[in-house]
């Protein structure tokens, strides 16, 4: 599996920026966020597909390896506004 450092280029190139507080790659324009563990876990091809897939929702899309509670999701959306 490619190293994290090579995979983050995919996100950099797609306009995502790393957020130190959230430890996620975030693109506010398309309302999508990828956790660093998710990027680490997933192969490059899957990441590319997810990055390219348009967000059809008006809401944020979070890609994480671990489950998130509804309250955590709500708070994360609030701090990302």
């Amino acid at each position: 599996m490619p190293r994290l450092s090579t995979k983050v280029h995919l996100l950099d190139d797609a306009g995502y920026a790393y957020n130190f507080d959230r430890m996620m790659y975030i693109n506010r324009a398309v309302k999508k966020a990828f956790s660093i563990e998710f990027i680490d876990d997933k192969p490059e091809t899957e990441l590319t597909t997810l990055i390219q897939q348009p967000n059809q929702e008006a809401d944020w899309l979070f890609f994480t390896s671990l489950p998130m509670s509804e309250g955590t999701r709500k708070e994360l959306k609030r701090v990302l506004q």
Binding site: S65, G71, T72, V79
Partner: protein
């Protein structure tokens, strides 16, 4: 209903626990120093065993709780997004952290680490070993609880090489103490951090090799 924020409640908990943490830190360090007395007697002049104790500060304790406690999966030890679930304030307590009190034993040369580990395991045999830390060849790390005034305080001790331990001190005080929000950078710096470890380990290995081959290591009658 408690109107205060989760952070306010945790700050109150911290200052309630602080006197207990201070007493535990003192007794824990004293016990470790006592257990290491026989190792120290054997040390050559260029060898050292340094014991450093710290109590986690309030801000980093709250930050760590935010990063680690996942209300959806308590076993995960990682909370995506690093935010508190404000609908479930009861899920958070500083006593969930594993290292409110921490002792780091710095050893040089690193071959002394096994001896230090054995001396401490004679007393702390029941403590939980951090397997990942061991697999990364960083030394030994254990977690356990120490009782003070009816409260179990989560404690940790590490046995690491002096050079790597001091690198962590420098890295921490130069970067993350000044700007804790940069903590997230650590994960992106893994490759460079591994390179530093490799260089420091190579230095220690060569140092040990040269000492072993030198006159210092020969019986005095052969000098």
């Amino acid at each position: 209903m408690d109107e205060r924020s989760i952070e306010d409640r945790l700050r109150e908990e911290y200052f309630d626990l602080l006197p207990k943490m201070e007493r535990v830190a003192q007794s824990f360090t004293t016990e470790i120093e006592y257990l290491l007395r026989l190792v120290r007697i054997e040390l050559a002049p260029h060898e050292s065993v340094i014991v450093k104790t710290r109590i986690k500060d309030c801000r980093s304790a709250i930050d760590k709780l935010r990063r680690q406690v996942n209300p959806e999966d308590p076993t995960a030890e990682r909370n995506p997004g690093d935010v508190f679930d404000r609908d479930q304030p009861e899920k958070y307590s500083l006593l969930l952290l594993r290292d409110l009190v921490g002792v780091r034993i710095l050893v040089f040369p690193p071959k002394r680490a096994d001896q230090v580990d054995r001396a401490l395991r004679s007393k702390f045999g029941g403590w939980k070993s951090d397997r990942k830390f061991r697999e990364r060849q960083l030394g030994y790390k254990y977690n356990g609880l120490r009782l003070h005034n009816h409260v179990f305080i989560p404690c940790e001790y590490q046995v690491v090489s002096t050079l790597i331990g001091l690198f962590w001190d420098v890295e921490h005080s130069a970067i993350y103490k000044q700007a804790p929000q940069l903590r997230g950078l650590e994960l992106l710096m893994q490759k460079q951090t591994k390179a530093v470890y490799k260089a420091l380990k190579a230095f220690e290995a060569e140092f040990e090799r040269r000492i072993e081959k030198s006159e210092l290591n020969k019986p005095s009658s052969l000098k």
